[in-house]
């Protein structure tokens, strides 16, 4: 069997082999065949708010800098000096007109162009600056989500996202007409494979079990709203490894049902907003403040998850970094944005009431995966319901992701 078919055989329709979590050779192949071959999320446009702003990011294992140049164009540049490889940026985010390599002082502008080389006379005519820009990746955006790819010949981003775009549009309605901005991020690592986290975003099955201590911290009305298995939710395979999981059908379209009564937990906020906003405005903002009722899982590294972006970064076969990016209404009322921050802190992050329990669960998956020589990870929940949709607790979204995994690994 050649290598491609060997990989394909490890990901069946209803199960994947445990070596997908544990084999370093498979991890290396994934970085090559998946992360270097598709659209990878690197930033949200609001993280680069002005000309000459930048943030550090990754495409697979490769460090990049996402920049907005003085003409407001976005660029994704490998964070590596063309002289002898030193990183040119070591600030997570900021503003600059130039990246100056601190080793021998080569300087690059925000488009990546090599502008100046100290003591250039030493090169005589050997060095043509045009030949050594920072390596630039292809960049495209959808609804403010910025993606990059190492490949110049793959389909445009819009086509790659396909039907996921309509769900992304619905997700962005939580800007309540103001637009979405990243309002801060929690980052944490867990000792486990990246696909454990990829699966989790489309795993409603664990929610009432793992998150019981979160649920019991809520008032009764909100606890009812987070009964994610009990509201007739569903999962859809959106193609190319993407999927959507609807947990709270009432919160699919945040511009609908504006006349519904304001939930108890947002009464104080509504009263505060009513001092400065018309009643219809108040309802629109309050309905958006808790986020949507669904998770969009975009293969391979980002999810639009209820009220935040979840970004995963593979580090090693058994190490993954997660960013949970809180979102706010750009230019929206401060009271509503602070409410969003507090809601995010309640569940997410290293000391949230939810994330540490997720992280513990994922770590235990990796620890357990050390046992057994030839055991499989089951993905067959809801299989009988059809291959493209299932009830909310079906493993349809995971099957969608692994179908794409198989397609890319076997190419």
């Amino acid at each position: 069997m050649d290598q491609q078919s060997a990989y394909a055989a490890l990901a069946r329709e209803d199960r994947v082999h445990t070596s997908l979590y544990t084999d370093p050779a498979i991890f290396d192949a994934e970085m090559d065949r998946i992360f270097a071959n598709t659209w990878v999320w690197v930033a949200h446009a609001s993280e680069l708010p002005t000309p000459n702003s930048y943030k550090m990011s990754h495409v697979g294992l490769q460090p990049v800098v996402v920049t907005r140049d003085k003409e407001s164009q976005l660029h994704v540049l490998l964070n590596r000096c063309r002289h002898r490889a030193a990183s040119v940026c070591e600030q997570k985010r900021g503003r600059a007109q130039m990246f100056v390599c601190r080793y021998h002082g080569w300087s690059y502008d925000m488009t990546g162009r090599l502008r100046a080389v100290p003591y250039a006379a030493g090169y005589g005519t050997e060095l043509n600056k045009e030949d050594y820009p920072l390596v630039s990746l292809r960049v495209e955006t959808y609804a403010g989500l910025v993606f990059a790819t190492m490949r110049d010949d793959i389909q445009p981003l819009a086509e790659y996202l396909g039907p996921a775009r309509a769900w992304i549009d619905l997700f962005m309605k939580q800007g309540a007409g103001f637009g979405i901005k990243v309002a801060g991020e929690h980052r944490f690592r867990f000792p486990g494979n990246w696909k454990i986290q990829l699966e989790n975003t489309t795993d409603a099955y664990h929610f009432p079990i793992v998150h019981r201590s979160f649920l019991t911290s809520l008032d009764e009305e909100t606890e009812g709203q987070f009964d994610v298995l009990g509201q007739g939710g569903w999962i859809e395979d959106l193609g190319n490894g993407h999927s959507v999981m609807v947990m709270i059908p009432d919160l699919v379209d945040l511009e609908a049902n504006l006349d519904a009564p304001i939930p108890e937990r947002f009464q104080d906020l509504a009263a505060e907003l009513a001092k400065t906003h018309a009643p219809q405005e108040v309802r629109r903002i309050v309905r958006a403040v808790g986020g949507t009722g669904f998770n969009i899982n975009l293969f391979p590294n980002v999810a639009c998850s209820m009220a935040f972006f979840r970004v995963l970064r593979p580090i090693a076969v058994n190490e993954t970094e997660i960013a949970h990016m809180a979102l706010g209404m750009a230019g929206g009322p401060e009271a509503a944005n602070q409410a969003r921050l507090r809601l995010h802190e309640h569940f997410q992050g290293p000391m949230g009431f939810g994330s540490p329990d997720d992280a513990e669960g994922w770590e235990r998956v990796q620890r357990g995966a050390a046992a057994g020589d030839d055991l499989w990870i089951l993905l067959n929940r809801g299989l009988a319901q059809g291959s493209n949709t299932g009830d909310v607790s079906a493993e349809t979204g995971m099957r969608a992701a692994y179908r794409m995994w198989r397609r890319m690994m076997a190419q």
Binding site: A183, G184, F188, S217, G349, P350
Partner: protein
């Protein structure tokens, strides 16, 4: 009520550390004023923590909910709980508002769970106010040395 001195503040802070290491959360909750805030920032130099994202931004209600969660037995990151041993030192009295005694200090926590030992270092700022019982905690800001970088799931209090 007597004024707070640096030695009495140190004694209070050591007591607080011991209560957290021994998971005596009910006694810990009783150290606080009703309006106090317990804060673990993600941004090192925020002017107003309420306006930015934090790891923890707890008023009294959230502190109580947090303790309830840690003790519920329903949270797999907290049961079994990691063992922790913390040392607090390098105390320095800082300028504060009238009636508030401000102390800055260093805190090292060593955490053990399963087969792993980890370390968390932080600068901690305490706002202490005189109370009938001696001293009450008005504000505690735990600025982790790596709070703006990737952390891990933490199933106890800092």
């Amino acid at each position: 009520m007597t004024a707070i001195s640096l030695p009495s503040a140190m004694e209070f802070i050591w007591l607080e550390a011991d209560l957290l290491d021994s998971h005596d959360y009910a006694a810990w909750l009783a150290l606080w004023t009703a309006t106090g805030h317990y804060i673990i920032p993600t941004e090192r130099d925020a002017e107003d923590y309420a306006a930015v994202l934090n790891v923890v931004y707890d008023d009294q209600e959230m502190r109580e909910a947090r303790v309830k969660r840690l003790q519920s037995g329903l949270s797999m990151s907290a049961s079994p709980a990691a063992r922790t041993v913390r040392t607090v030192s390098r105390f320095r009295a800082m300028d504060g508002a009238a009636g508030v005694f401000v102390v800055r200090c260093a805190q090292h926590i060593v955490e053990y769970k399963y087969d792993r030992t980890r370390m968390l270092a932080a600068d901690v700022l305490f706002w202490l106010v005189p109370a009938a019982s001696g001293i009450s905690l008005q504000r505690k800001v735990v600025t982790l040395i790596n709070g703006d970088d990737a952390l891990h799931g933490i199933g106890y209090l800092l």
